[in-house]
Amino acid sequence: MKVFLDLFKDYRFVFSFVVLVFILILALMSFASPFDPTLWNVVPRDMPPSGEYWLGTDSNGQDIFWQATFAVRNSLIISLIAGLVSRVIAILVGMVAGYNGGATDRVLMFISDGLLVIPIFLIFVLLSMLMREYMNLALLGLMLSLLSWPWDARLIRSVILSLREREFTKTAILSGTGTVSLVLKEYLPFATPLIFSTLINNIAFAIGLEITLAFLGLVNLTIPTLGTMLNWAITYQAILLGRWYWVLTPVVLSLFLFIALYWLSVSISEYLDPRTRIQRVGA
């Protein structure tokens, strides 16, 4: 509890916490939605916001508010899959490369540097263009995870590299600790804050890339996500026709989501890094 009280002294954490709770509630409300998000013309089309349709209705005949609840839920699912799977890859690569060193390290770091340098956005375009007909939430999440681990693997590797030189490593090895348990029990706790903050950044990255791919029409447009909602709004010229409530709903939701995720990761990593914590207490 004390951790929370300390964190709540940071306005950025308070903001992120409130926004994320709001967005989670929104995502959970999708289970109570009176409409099926994949059907068209369930409500009258192109109605402005009113007491009955809180955020109006779109040109496909969907209620924008309820559509947004599904969009938030699906975007979160995609990004969570992407974030968690890529974390597993990053941890494995980072720890194996950092602990083994030598040729293993060089090969793994060559691959991750290669991925880091190549404009992977274009590889995503190529992949999703060819996979468009098979695309679903889980597959999109996996695809995003496969190419977004290199930077984080490098960070984790650098932590392990410095831990390997510490005194307690020798003590552990000499007292008969196996490699696996040494890495998992002794090293992983040191890397946890880093893994957590990269997870949050990765989730934001995945949501952003999904929006971009959806804008290019490279995902399944019948599944509502923040990206596909925006895609439909642009396709139907919602800006030109003055249907601001349709365009602004996904744009404002994603703006808040991105800022909240970033601020959360900054405030937590500042809290976990003792040097900046001392600075804040002193200030």
């Binding site: 404009p119 190529l126 263009m129 996979m131 098979y134 804008f215 365009v247």
Partner: protein, 335 residues
Amino acid sequence: MTFLKRYLIPRLIQYVLVIWLGITAVFLIPRVLPSDPVMAMIGMMRARGSTLEPGAMDDIIADLTEMYGLEGSWLDQYWAFWGRLFQGDFGVSFFNFPARVNDLIGNAMPWTLGLLLTTTILTTVFGNIIGGLAGYYSKKPWARTLDAIAMVIRPLPYYIFAFALILVFGWVVRWFPITGGASIGAQPALTWPYIKDVLWHAFLPGLSLTLLGGAVTFQTMKLLVQNVNAESFVQYAKLSGVTEGRIVSKYVIRNALLPQITGLALSLGQIFSGALITEIVYGYPGVGMLLYNSIIRADYNLIMGITIFSIVGITTAILIVDLTYPLFDPRVRYY
């Protein structure tokens, strides 16, 4: 000589290997995925409503297989693929037939290069100077304000930020054009009105790229400067009465700049992707727009060409940044 052996040759080998890795990935992706580009193409033709005789269909399949380079075993295809690349031949575009992919990319490249070079230089110069000053004077109100602004801009993805700027400047206050690289019908010429027109159109895309990239450079530079500030040689310089301007420019910023150069090299790929996305949002006639059109029309050759061009271009740019590193850090000598 040792410079060659110790640094240049390993770095060049790495450069060649990364390009090989990237281009091999581009070769493999369509071949390991379950979808068949030839049948997808025929599906598109059918969807447009063209009916075909059974015999004509076989001819088309054979032609497309040849054009995509899908004849023979994978190994044969791979050799033929590299053979064409070394001749600098990316084939013809399907939907701008018979325009060559090389020419299409060549026409779009100056727009992208212009936008990218200008914004990268602006970002690097201003991001580092302002970030450095804000790090040195981190307690001043203006530094805190800039920091707060960067905290808001930094997390936004290129697409959302560009779109938000369009909504504000293109629709709400209509100061800038929202699409195109120049006014329709303007004749390309080296005259002031044309240049002014191009700059006016480039303003919003350039602004969104500069602000996004600048926020990142600003934040990292501020952090780096704050770390250098705590070093004892800075304290010593202060106590010895070195003027503040000299400390900031010669001692602090110069030392903090070094990791920034490495950072720039590593993020060039992302900056390039971001520029493509920004171009698409603003309808800017560069490589990004070409990519967008080729996605809509499933112009497979063109996408391959753009991807390969970009991989080679980005890795070369990074190599150049890496090789200029000793110019900034006199301690690094490659011999």
